[in-house]
Assembly symmetry: C2
Homo-oligomer: 209 residues x 2
């Protein structure tokens, strides 16, 4: 086999890998809690798994809280596990308006100058000084996925979602690479609704220019 043929074979395989549809996760409003904030809200109850998520080790917990803002509240907001170093509340812009909270568009973890909110559990309540954001749409990738797509941590890409009746190209999609991650795009409920991506048959692919 000639070197040229090997190159072509590899190139074909890579192209096929790039053509795979990207799995889509639609993030409903949710809360990540620090151990101490969890302890304050659920003093005598361990965090328990309700449903494993696609990202390894991540899960939706049985426990939920109510978000209470100046203009309204949202009940049954799920806690995602495991517990983290910092508490973070991820909501949609629709939620932000109904709560009356000016949540900025941010990458997960970038909580500087974000507003706070009150969390209410069956056992008590906790007023956060900050931590409420609208998550920037993003794609989780393993380092191998990043190699295949020719992108790296921190890149911004375009993604086409062929949803039912509302096909959309989202620009400003952040790339997040880690060995603990598996290929999955995350968008919020506003974005899923706008793209018809609530249809399970919606097809997700990276737009290459």
């Amino acid at each position: 086999m000639q070197e040229q043929q090997v190159r072509e074979a590899i190139s074909n395989v890579l192209e096929q890998m790039r053509q795979r549809p990207i799995p889509l996760g639609i993030s409903n409003r949710h809360v990540h809690l620090s151990a101490s904030d969890y302890q304050a809200l659920f003093p005598n109850e361990p965090l328990t798994v309700r449903k494993e998520l696609l990202q390894p080790g991540q899960y939706a917990a049985e426990q939920t809280v109510t978000l209470s803002g100046p203009k309204g509240f949202l009940k049954n907001v799920r806690i995602l596990g495991p517990l983290r170093s910092r508490t973070q509340v991820e909501i949609s812009k629709t939620d932000a308006r109904s709560l009356g909270v000016a949540a900025p568009l941010r990458l997960s973890g970038q909580l500087e100058q974000s507003p706070g909110i009150k969390l209410i559990s069956p056992y008590g309540e906790l007023s956060l000084a900050q931590g409420v954001i609208v998550a920037l749409r993003h794609i989780h990738m393993s380092p191998l996925d990043a190699l295949v797509y020719g992108v790296q941590q921190g890149d911004r890409v375009k993604v086409a979602i062929a949803g039912s009746g509302r096909t959309t190209v989202f620009d400003d999609v952040a790339i997040r690479v880690s060995p603990q991650m598996t290929l999955e795009m995350h968008i919020d409920t506003d974005e899923a609704n706008a793209a018809g991506a609530d249809d399970p048959a919606a097809l997700i692919r990276l737009v290459r220019e």
Copy 2:
């Protein structure tokens, strides 16, 4: 002046007209009522203008209703005037989920096999058998605008919205042409949120391919 120069001058003017940003209207949930349905809900009160809309003759009324669905209700839903031949309720997919109503994605006026809902006014209530839709995103145009863009009634186009942090290209945007219309794109709150178009500086333009 040569014919060639005239052609180029016209072509330049048309191109400049096509480069104008398209005005954007973000449609919050609203209700259009037939005269008889309005009469049933507000028996002794004329429909009054709260705010003129950009489309000639259209206005947001002072009167509002509550939408009541199987899973929840939404208060203070504005009636848009003037009254129409048929009652139509336009909500976002987010609203559809919180009301528990399977509203289909439709062009305005296409109400066949759409679900109903209960409307509640200060004076009474009315159960609609049908009429609840999620409006297909669209651009209103005068016939002159349509000539300038080279599109016609019923076409589907792509529109780029350069919003804050969430730049998006919406495909499946319907073109609606009428002498009573002025250039304006209408999207719902989910779509505006997904594109960062709630930023007044968001720039809207038709994508030509």
